[in-house]
């Protein structure tokens, strides 16, 4: 099969199978693995059988432990973080490891309606036969409740507030009433929900406090070190470049490192040597944006330049990524340019390129 992308449980089927075989510890009802094995699946390790489990999440192990323990206590899990902190990635792998199925997914958007979370109707049937179980179209959440699996809801804060609140009954009563049929779907043991949300731009809709109380929250941090982030960016850029069939060379490590440094410094509000503080712009300066700046620069280099990523190619994207608010952010950016970029001897070309593209 020439699938563009495989589900986690397909891609890592062998690892999951190996874990299942060697897993002797108690499993919560309807879990495919014990919490300890889920932890190993996420954080990697070597099994007694000699099978190597690749780490799925690179970051503080305790966060994954909190996530697994949360799900083991039947509490819903909310993963918060700026774009590019692997929220979706973690939720997919958690669902794959716990339920063996990461496909019970609802993508939250401003247009997500109640029927995507509860149930909808097959209107032809509904008109022909009236309300009947056969006319009911179950949502991923309803299916998860019936089968005792983990459902996933992406970008929870983009869902309109009144639709979000339909989750309250599901999470606290663990039941989904269907008044039209005079029945209900009660959740089978093993059902749970993992939601993700972006905590920087807070989406369009804040979570209501009633809903917030029903989640345990784990904040996924941005990569801890420059090296870690450069690694993540270069891997992602390489894979994206392949997908888009860009003819350019792989980005020079030095240029990449400069872009990542700019992003980190503006995000953290202090230069990498810790000596100078800088203001942070209003945007999130996430790893994901950093990846797109490099990617855009690469495309520019490939189509309009000499195929090699240089300062001019990244400057335009860089300014665009930093300056989201034309007044405040521009001041922040200029201050950063003058106080930090200008002072660095080997950054002269970047300084000039940024100045040129900012006028």
């Amino acid at each position: 099969m020439n699938l563009l992308r495989q589900h986690a449980e397909q891609q890592f089927a062998q690892e999951l199978e190996a874990l299942r075989e060697s897993d002797t510890r108690p499993r919560p009802p309807n879990w495919k693995l014990s919490p300890w094995a889920v932890r190993t699946y996420l954080l990697g390790g070597r099994l007694d059988s000699g099978v190597e489990i690749t780490p799925k999440y690179i970051g503080p192990p305790r966060l994954m432990e909190i996530a697994v323990a949360t799900l083991a206590t039947d509490r819903a899990l909310l993963l918060l973080g700026v774009p590019g902190t692997a929220k979706t990635w973690v939720s997919e792998h958690l669902a794959a490891a716990i339920s063996g199925d990461s496909t019970l997914l609802i993508q939250g958007t401003a247009g997500t309606g109640e029927e995507s979370i509860r149930y909808g109707w097959n209107y032809a049937r509904l008109l022909a036969d009236g309300p009947s179980p056969a006319a009911l179209v179950a949502s991923p959440v309803m299916n998860a409740m019936r089968e005792g699996k983990v459902a996933r809801l992406e970008e929870l804060t983009r869902v309109p507030a009144e639709v979000q609140d339909t989750l309250i009954t599901i999470l606290s009563e663990k039941t989904l009433p269907v008044p039209e049929l005079g029945s209900e779907v009660q959740a089978v043991q093993g059902f749970n929900l993992i939601a993700t949300a972006n905590d920087r731009d807070r989406g369009v809709n804040e979570l209501s406090s009633a809903l917030k109380r029903r989640f345990n929250t784990v904040v996924l941090p941005v990569p801890a070190t420059l090296e870690e982030e450069v690694d993540i960016v270069s891997r992602r850029v390489a894979s994206l470049g392949k997908a888009l069939q860009l003819p350019a060379e792989a980005p020079a490590l030095q240029e990449l490192r400069r872009v990542v440094t700019v992003f980190r410094e503006l995000r953290e509000g202090v230069t990498s040597d810790g000596k100078t503080k800088v203001k942070s712009p209003s945007g999130s300066m996430s790893t994901a944006e950093c990846i797109s700046v490099v990617n855009q620069g690469l495309a520019l280099a490939a189509h309009f330049g000499d195929g090699r990523l240089n300062a001019q190619d990244v400057a335009a994207g860089l300014v665009g990524a930093v300056v989201k608010d034309p007044v405040q952010d521009r001041a922040v950016w200029r201050e950063y340019l003058e106080a930090v970029v200008k002072e660095r001897q080997d950054w002269k070309d970047l300084y000039r390129a940024c100045r040129d593209s900012d006028t």
Partner: protein, 718 residues
């Protein structure tokens, strides 16, 4: 069966479980003497522990001859429990450790702390010794546990004899125990760190001669000991004299309630209550979930009870919604804690107080209850030192001296009024944890204040530091200043820092290096201003604009005093940008125009043009005039053109408008000095003071002229 005359209780210092177990064991065994691990200097101080005003955390400070060390005691220290047990029953207490007077004089490196428990912990499948000890000893109070500890430590230490400083200490401990036996005690409870326990068991004792040989001819220093109040923050400080206890308040909770099986729930409820008291939501239902999560985490990590790590993580995920700020609050109140101890008022004095007293005496400044004024001439060394002493005390918030008249830096006279209040003694005791001498205490205090102060306060702090001659602390303050300036988003704040900055830079005592750093800092400030100020002047209300006008003027005057062309250029560039911003409040726009004219950037024609343009806009005219002219009427004298522009404007106002702007105009013109006012009025036809007619005597004039010329710096014409 005969009882052994000595029982050794190996404990962990400040371990609440050890303390609880020890209380049980002492109650059961009923010793007739309690011997604690601690230098014998503390012995005379021990009875005070029973004083009703004594409230841990407290510490014994042993100091002298450049040496100082602290022995902190908290309510849950096993040693404190044993001490209180003995004092309550009138049982004598002795201290058996090597006296600090020897220890301090010995030039033996203190051993690197090795974790004796690590091996045992690994054997039991734990990651580190602390966690294992916590699990085995601290979580289950049991009077019988000490036998087990003894055995375990015997196994860990093996047959190898102690080395170096440790050998000396243990020999001294045995010497103390031998003496106690000789004195006729038959049930001696010996409380010591678990590590030492095997060496103190009687069957393991080496011969008297061996121990005495070790202890022969030890060097000695003269030291003093006294009680001082201590805090849980200090307990938790990793560096310095802290006990390396990360979570004193948490241990306090364990000590009080740790063994009723509800610790997890209790801690979580306390955390929720704390969050609610700060108006953060933390429902009882979520407390239940937090407890469940903590327990599930503990299970996932193979612990039978949640430790502090699991408690904090559960509180973060459930109660704090993943946000670190509320958790930081929980940590500071419920993990580290804010308890401060108290010592009886009649306890002996702290070294800081003694240091201050000694200095005051040397500088002949008596500590009197009546006030007395001192005029200090800072060119004399004694007076300079006096001034520094008083400024330093101010930094410690001890207000012994009040500076009578404010003075600019660089002048050499200071007038102080001194009056000693009894509370100052307490203030000094409170300041004691900062350091043992006035200088070190001030430096530590300044370093902390540098972390908390706002930008203008920081610049003032730099000033105080210079006045107090604390060059050691200057770097900290400057570093903080740099950080704070970089983050300041309000250019008005930056403007306010310029005048004190200028004062500091003009102060001649700043050493070369510091001055360079200050200069680069100021340059950074100016650069930030040039970016931020043009954005900040738009849309100010009357009040903010008036404040901004004032700050602009003061900043300008300050910069002028520094006579640094590069800075003035930067400043000029900034103001030119500001002058081009549209819709700026009249106060600000007028003041900027004045500064630009003062810097000779605009000739008077340009000023007149701009003034006319501003006046042609309805509404802002009067405030613009005020901004331009307030306190600077002389500009009108030099540029009659402006008088004309203003004159035309006023004459063109309607009657209502004129009545409206009159108060503002009056305020502006009344700020002019008398001379300027009369000069302005003269050509307008007002009353003039008659010029007295002089008849000059050419001969006498000729005699004065050379002197005048010389005064003016001109060549004397022959």
């Amino acid at each position: 069966m005969s009882q052994p005359p000595i029982r050794v209780f190996g404990v962990r210092h400040h371990g609440p479980g050890s303390a609880a177990s020890l209380a049980l064991a002492l109650e059961a065994w009923q010793p007739d003497l309690v011997v604690l691990e601690g230098p014998s200097e503390m012995e005379p101080l021990l009875p005070l522990a029973d004083h009703p005003e004594m409230q841990p955390p407290v510490a014994v400070l042993i100091h002298g001859e450049g040496h100082a060390c602290y022995y902190p005691w908290v309510e849950f220290s096993p040693e404190w429990v044993a001490l209180r047990h003995a004092l309550a029953r009138a049982i004598p207490v002795r201290l058996m450790d090597l006296p600090q007077s020897h220890d301090a004089a010995l030039e033996i490196e203190r051993e690197r702390f090795t974790d004796p428990l690590a091996e045992l912990a690994r054997a039991a499948g734990f990651e580190d010794g602390e966690a294992w000890w916590e699990w085995v000893v601290e979580q289950r109070p049991d009077g019988e546990v000490f036998e087990g500890i003894l055995e375990a430590m015997r196994a860990v230490r093996g047959p190898a004899p102690a080395q170096g400083r440790e050998a000396l200490r243990e020999a001294w401990m045995r010497r103390t125990l031998r003496q106690a036996r000789k004195d006729g005690f038959g049930r001696i409870a010996c409380v010591c760190g678990a590590w030492h326990a095997p060496a103190l068991e009687m069957p393991a004792w080496p011969s008297v001669a061996e121990d005495e040989k070790l202890l022969k001819g030890l060097p000695k220093k003269k030291l003093e000991a006294l009680w001082i109040p201590w805090t849980y923050q200090r307990m938790a400080l990793e560096s310095g004299y802290g006990a390396g206890l990360d979570s004193p308040e948490f241990y306090h909770l364990i000590w009080q309630h740790g063994h009723d099986g509800q610790l997890t729930s209790r801690w979580m409820v306390l955390a929720a209550q704390l969050l609610r008291s700060e108006d953060l939501s933390a429902s009882p239902a979520s407390v239940v979930e937090a407890v469940r999560l903590a327990e599930a985490l503990a299970a996932l990590r193979g612990r039978n009870l949640p430790s502090l790590a699991e408690l904090e993580e559960a509180a973060l995920a459930v109660l704090c919604g993943g946000a670190p700020q509320p958790l930081a609050l929980v940590r500071s109140r419920l993990v580290v804690g804010q308890r401060m101890g108290q010592i009886p008022a009649d306890a002996p004095q702290v070294p800081l107080a003694r240091d201050v007293a000694a200095r005051a005496k040397r500088l002949r400044l008596p500590m009197e209850a009546a006030h007395r004024d001192y005029e200090l001439d800072l060119r004399k060394s004694t007076d300079l030192e006096r001034s520094q002493l008083l400024h330093r005390l101010h930094l410690l918030e001890v207000g012994w001296g009040q500076l009578r008249q404010s003075r600019g830096l660089g002048t050499f006279k200071e007038t102080w009024r001194l009056q000693w209040q009894p509370e100052f003694a307490l203030d000094l005791v409170r300041a004691a944890p900062w350091g043992n001498t006035l200088e070190t205490a001030c430096q530590a205090r300044v370093a902390t204040r540098a972390q908390e102060s706002s930008l203008p306060r920081l610049v003032e702090l730099v000033e105080s530091v210079l006045l107090a001659d604390l060059s050691g602390a200057l770097a900290d303050v400057l570093a903080a200043l740099q950080g704070r300036a970089a983050l300041a988003s309000d250019p008005a704040l930056l403007l306010q820092t310029l005048p004190p900055f200028a004062r500091i830079l003009r102060y001649p005592d700043v050493r070369g290096t510091d001055s360079a750093m200050l200069r680069s800092l100021l340059e950074g400030l100016l650069e930030r201003l040039s970016v931020g100020l043009p954005l900040a002047v738009a849309s100010l209300n009357d009040e903010a604009a008036e404040a901004m006008m004032k700050h602009l003027g003061e900043a300008h005057q300050a910069l002028l005093t520094l006579t640094e062309p590069a800075w003035l250029d930067l400043w000029l560039g900034t103001l030119v940008k500001v002058a081009e911003v549209q819709g700026v409040h009249g106060f600000v726009a007028g003041r900027v125009l004045w500064i630009l004219s003062d810097l000779k950037h605009f000739p008077s024609e340009e000023v007149g043009l701009r003034l006319g343009r501003a006046l042609s806009l309805s509404g802002q005219g009067a405030s613009f005039v005020e901004g331009l002219l307030r306190d600077h009427g002389e500009i009108l004298v030099h540029a009659p053109l402006l008088v004309e522009v203003i004159d035309n404007w006023i004459c063109g106002l309607s009657e209502e408008r004129f009545i409206e702007v009159l108060p503002l105009l009056r305020r502006t013109f009344s700020s002019f000095p008398r001379g300027v006012r009369s000069q302005l009025i003269r050509p307008r036809g007002g009353p003039t003071t008659p010029v007295p007619s002089h008849r000059l005597d050419p001969q006498r004039v000729a005699r004065v002229l050379p002197v005048v010329q010389r005064l003016l710096g001109q060549e004397v014409s022959s």
